[in-house]
């Protein structure tokens, strides 16, 4: 049996194609059933997220399965076959195992280390389990991929550092303040990025939220959304004395906060530290303010700079993660090949038992006069002869050796165990 991954992701297919091939809602329900019913396929799991569509399979013949799945895509999503040519990738056997481990550990993600993919993978697995489209191989593989992902998360720092501007701002705030839950946060202005950063700050538990907007009504609406307090824009400098964290994003073409003003604010604050985040372009806060003691001013480039270093660090950690995955792939390989020997061991024992039964019957029919005691003794002897005979080959099969495949073939041949399809077991 062979493990196969057929799929496409953000690296091989553009958004348009990914959207077309997404399995959502009813499509997933129908898709997984139809794929499972293809004659080439034994087990299947479908993972469909906005960055990837992947199908995990157990098949007998890789090439046939690939063609069958391609045909299925063309039919199911009504697209041209050519569109798939460059987008689809195919991994089989250990390559496939490695790929699934890398996906679950978020090494294959657009943002390396992002945590969502593991949850999405778990959901996909559960969905397949409920529909009974998986079997011994994919069950084991998917469970393993979840535990590998957890191992990577705890043993490397792959998910530790912020890789988005708004998270970077929160991370910095936590290195300036010991406890955000006693801090006051002020949002000056509005804008998509500013609001996102504000949301992250608020999710991290700041105590009070002050919103200042040039249009007071907009401010009030935002205040409602964030459960904060709206103030008039012109009052913000007075209020700044109470705010520990400020995110500033106004459309102003010049500085709205000058060094002299900030000096006054700091006096009023008794020098309690303040974290200013200026994500407006052009900048709204006089950069000279960063020279003041206990004032930490970051503009959008500074934040981007920290994000860049974090991304570099994640890449370093990703290399460590790959080493872990390599070891796990090895372990999985061993398990897989031990699985190969199971049917042969069973067949060998069955064959021996059959011979024993047949010969005993023959003998006992010819000797009707013997008593129970003698009968038992003969049966016992027959049992120990077959046990001793199949003991050595069984041990040899179970041994974890390089030439296990040859061993299986030889034993099948020697004992005449052919004709059975392992996959059906």
């Amino acid at each position: 049996m062979k493990t196969v991954v057929i799929g496409l992701n953000h690296k091989t297919a553009d958004v348009e194609l990914r959207e077309k091939l997404a399995f959502n809602g009813q499509k997933l329900e129908d898709g997984i059933r139809q794929i499972r019913e293809l004659p080439e396929i034994r087990e299947t799991v479908i993972v469909s997220t906005c960055n990837r569509v992947e199908i995990y399979l157990r098949v007998k013949d890789v090439k046939k399965a690939f063609e069958a799945v391609k045909d299925f895509f063309v039919r199911f999503f009504e697209i041209k076959r050519e569109a798939l040519d460059n987008a689809l990738y195919l991994y089989h056997d250990m390559e496939a195992v490695r790929h699934i481990f890398r996906v679950s550990s978020s090494l294959d993600s657009m943002v390396v280390g992002e945590p969502q993919i593991l949850g999405q993978l778990k959901d996909a697995f559960e969905f397949a389990l409920e529909r009974k489209t998986t079997g011994v191989l994919l069950n084991r593989l998917l469970k393993k991929s979840i535990s590998v992902a957890k191992r990577v998360r705890t043993e490397t720092k792959i998910a530790e550092n912020a890789v988005s501007i708004s998270f970077a701002a929160v991370e910095l705030a936590k290195k300036i303040f010991a406890d955000l839950s006693e801090k006051t946060f002020m949002l000056l202005g509005a804008g998509e990025m500013a609001e996102l950063a504000a949301k992250h700050m608020i999710n991290n538990g700041v105590k009070d939220i002050i919103i200042a907007n040039r249009t007071y009504e907009t401010g009030c609406n935002l205040a409602k959304e964030f459960k904060g307090r709206a103030i008039r824009f012109d009052d913000y400098i007075d209020e700044l004395a109470h705010a520990d964290i400020l995110i500033c994003s106004t459309g102003a073409q010049n500085y709205v906060l000058m060094k002299g003003q900030m000096q006054k604010v700091m006096k009023e604050r008794k020098n309690r530290p303040v974290f200013l985040i200026d994500i407006s372009v052009p900048r709204n806060i006089d950069p000279g303010i960063n020279d003041l003691d206990n004032v930490y001013l970051y503009d959008i480039d500074d934040l981007q700079g920290t994000v860049d270093t974090n991304i570099l660090e994640r890449q370093k950690e990703a290399r460590k993660a790959d080493d872990i995955i390599e070891k796990e792939v090895e372990t999985f390989k061993k398990w897989l090949s031990s699985l190969d020997t199971v049917p042969t061991v069973v067949a060998l024992r069955e064959k021996a038992e059959a011979i024993k039964k047949e010969e005993l019957e023959k003998l006992l029919n010819r000797l009707p006069e013997i008593g129970e005691k003698e009968k038992k003794a003969i049966e016992g002897m027959a049992g120990s002869i077959i046990n001793k005979l199949i003991h050595a080959p069984t041990v040899a099969l179970r041994e974890d050796s390089e030439d296990r495949d040859i061993m299986i073939a030889v034993i099948k041949r020697l004992y005449g165990l052919n004709g059975e399809d392992d996959d059906e077991k």
Binding site: L172, I176, A178, R272, N290, D293, N294, D302, T306
Partner: protein
């Protein structure tokens, strides 16, 4: 016996210091646990050593420079446990254990003989005065380590170089809080040490204050820390300035402790 205890304690502190320095470069939760256990074992041996010396000599073992350095280090480790328990600041050990080790090492190189106390020192004040002084000094030593940590972290945040120790060091606010807390511990102890010292001087020599170098330097130290607290409360000198002042203050402490003994002449010479 007490010699073996001392050497063992020194060895464990040494091992802990090595682990602490390693932690700066390649720290995991395992290295911090190893470091902490090493310090705990070292501290237990150290405590046993101090008790053994007390039993042998019959007085509190702070009568010569060897014993004083050793006791100083002991107080610092005690405070280290307190801070670890109360705040759990990352990397504190890396900044404190080297200080402990240097104190213990210098202690190990000083004459260790237990000699009978000179008559002047035979007083209940010996224990009270010296213990107060050393607890105060230990708090200042700690504030020094924390101050250095603050200055490093502040540099990272201010210069926007988010790398190196930035992630492992605690937040600026926590460091500043601990620094302030330590000085509010150290200052009353120093004050009491000076007062008990004056009382002792009165009973031993008949005058409260004799402008002995140690007394003068203690007073200078006292003024430095008094001003640290004063400007913090009145002018809001917190953060960086408070950290710098606590570094300067500790230099005065060190000079009072070693400098005066080694260079000067006076009543406090051991």
């Amino acid at each position: 016996m007490e010699v073996i205890l001392f050497e063992l304690a020194l060895t464990f502190y040494f091992a802990a210091t090595i682990v602490c320095v390693l932690e700066l470069f390649k720290g995991t939760s395992t290295t911090s646990r190893i470091m902490f256990s090493l310090v705990v074992i070292g501290f237990a041996l150290h405590t046993a050593n101090i008790i053994a010396r007390y039993v042998l000599s019959g007085h509190i073992p702070i009568a010569n420079l060897h014993e004083a350095s050793s006791f100083f280090a002991w107080c610092i480790v005690l405070l280290f446990f307190y801070l670890e328990y109360r705040y759990k600041p990352g990397l504190l050990g890396s900044f404190i254990m080297p200080v402990v080790f240097v104190l213990m090492l210098s202690s190990s190189m000083l004459p260790r003989k237990i000699e009978p106390l000179s008559p002047v020192l035979q007083s209940c004040w010996l224990g009270i005065h010296t213990v107060l002084a050393f607890i105060g000094d230990a708090a200042f030593a700690m504030a020094f380590g924390i101050g250095i940590m603050y200055l490093i972290q502040e540099h990272y945040v201010k210069s926007k170089h988010i790398r190196g120790l930035f992630r492992k060091l605690p937040s600026l606010q926590m460091l500043d809080d601990i620094n302030y807390r330590l000085i509010t511990i150290g200052f009353p102890f120093l004050t009491l040490a000076i007062i008990t010292g004056a009382l002792w001087a009165e009973s031993a020599w008949g005058s409260y204050w004799r402008w002995d170098p140690k007394e003068v330097w203690s007073l200078i130290t006292w003024f430095i820390y008094a001003s640290v607290l004063h400007v913090r409360l009145t002018a809001g000198w917190r953060g960086k300035r408070a950290a710098i002042l606590s570094v300067i203050g500790f230099c005065a402490v060190l000079f009072t402790f070693f400098g005066v003994n080694l260079l000067g002449k006076g009543l406090h010479l051991f």
